[in-house]
């Protein structure tokens, strides 16, 4: 009748049942004891956990585990994929993977260098084209005024060494046609401040314009490349220059540069 009862923890079940009967002051007449043992037997079977319960029993470490160190077979890409997810990088996996990550970083740096070089070349060519365009006399005057305004602004803001920082090719195209108003050759490296020196001989309004609008010229940030298009005759933002040769690179049309005090 009670085969299952007491089969696993027989002595323990019997003892607890006997204790219970003793507490209740009841004699063991056999019948009641058997029923109580049968009741206890209901607790003998451990149910299988459901999927949800089993999931809760899995330790947190295994749920977010980083692949164990296996230098011979852990791929670089897999390692890189794992690291961002867990944010943990065991020391033992760093060494074998360091070469791979280093290569990738080196490739990234090389790519950045290429991008920078390309950009510099593009800007230089654009500047050269701007110079070619500026070689036209009609434009030169206008641009010379802009150039002087810029130069005076730069010297005012930058102080003594103002000319120096402007020597990079990047800001030069910011005022296309501004640099190298005089020289028509490769003007890539000709700094803006040098232009006034050579351009003053050609400009008809060197001094008054800069002095009048010097410190008060609020030049906006000029993105690269850019063109001074408003009111500039003969240069409708198109690829023209005084020598009739198309520039190396077409000058893209850009919004006009608002330079108060400069009137073409």
């Amino acid at each position: 009748m009670s085969d299952t009862a007491g089969s696993r923890n027989g002595s323990r079940d019997d003892a607890s049942v006997d204790r219970l009967l003793l507490e209740a002051g009841l004699d063991d007449d056999g019948g009641l004891r058997n029923v109580l043992l049968e009741l206890q037997g209901l607790a003998a079977e451990r149910p299988m956990p459901s999927d949800a319960v089993a999931a809760l029993m899995r330790p947190a470490v295994t749920r977010t585990a980083v692949p164990t160190p296996a230098p011979s077979h852990v791929a670089a890409t897999r390692h890189l994929a794992v690291v961002p997810a867990t944010g943990v990088m065991p020391a033992t996996t760093v060494v074998p993977e360091f070469a791979a990550t280093d290569d990738l970083a080196a490739r990234r740096r090389a790519k950045h260098r290429i991008t920078l070089t390309t950009l510099s070349v593009t800007i230089s060519l654009a500047a050269g084209g701007a110079v070619a365009v500026a070689s036209d006399q009609g434009i030169r005057d206008t641009i010379g005024q802009v150039n002087h305004a810029v130069t005076s602004f730069v010297s005012t803001v930058g102080g003594g060494p103002a000319p120096a920082p402007v020597e990079t090719p990047a800001p030069v195209p910011g005022q296309p046609g501004v640099p190298a108003v005089g020289p028509t050759g490769p003007a890539v490296t000709v700094p803006v401040p040098a232009a006034p020196g050579s351009g003053s001989s050609q400009s008809t309004q060197p001094a008054p314009t800069p002095s009048g609008s010097g410190p008060a010229v609020p030049l906006p940030d000029l993105p690269l490349p850019e063109n001074v298009t408003p009111g500039v005759p003969g240069v409708p933002g198109g690829p023209l220059n005084g020598e009739g040769q198309p520039p190396a690179l077409p000058l893209p049309p850009t919004p006009p540069v608002p330079l108060p005090g400069i009137h073409p």
Binding site: S16, V17, E23, L26, V35, L39, L42, A44, L56, R58
Partner: protein
């Protein structure tokens, strides 16, 4: 074997309390899931296996606030199981039409020849047949769940003296029921 496992789980609970909840939860499940299932079967709850899983799913979020080690966990687990049992019978009372009648699970039936025939079929509610609800609850918690007088008092919301008295009367009634059943068998 169960004793050994229980001891390991008890050690786990004692040593890693406050550590990974999953480890503690596993120890509690292994130790008490059988007793919870048996308790729900003894109380005649429908689908006791599913309700057992629900009890532990409800228990897991409370692990962080546990006190009293393994015994504290046991009290909490069976408090939840008791509440599920109460909810079950409230639903049954409200919507009796929607509950298919299952004589094996109906603890309210009196002992009969049919009950005797079904004794070994797996249905356990007949074991406590003929007792009042409170008497059935005391015996299920004390005998099946193996809870202490103090723990049963906490779950049923009564004093320990009241629980002792209930237990005594429940055992007496069960004895009387068993006697009547045995006499019926012999007739």
């Amino acid at each position: 074997m169960l004793d050994t496992l229980a001891e390991e789980d008890i050690d786990t609970f004692a040593d890693t309390a406050g550590a990974d909840p999953a480890v503690l939860f596993g120890a509690v499940y292994r130790t008490f899931s059988g007793a919870v299932l048996g308790y729900l079967k003894a109380r005649g709850v429908d689908d006791p296996e599913a309700v057992t899983q629900d009890v532990f799913l409800a228990f897991f979020p409370k692990i962080g606030e546990l006190t009293g080690g393994l015994q504290g966990a046991k009290s909490l687990v069976f408090s939840i199981a008791h509440a599920r049992m109460v909810d079950y019978y409230r639903r049954v009372e409200r919507r009796p039409d929607f509950t298919p009648y299952d004589p094996l699970q109906d603890g309210r039936s009196t002992a009969s020849a049919e009950d005797h025939a079904l004794e070994n079929s797996g249905g356990a509610a007949h074991l406590l047949a003929g007792l009042t609800d409170e008497h059935r609850e005391v015996l299920a918690l004390r005998v099946v769940a193996d809870l202490s007088i103090e723990q049963v008092a906490g779950i049923m919301g009564k004093s320990q003296g009241a629980i002792k008295q209930l237990q005594r009367r429940a055992l007496q009634n069960l004895k009387d029921q068993t006697l009547r059943r045995n006499q019926a068998d012999h007739e």
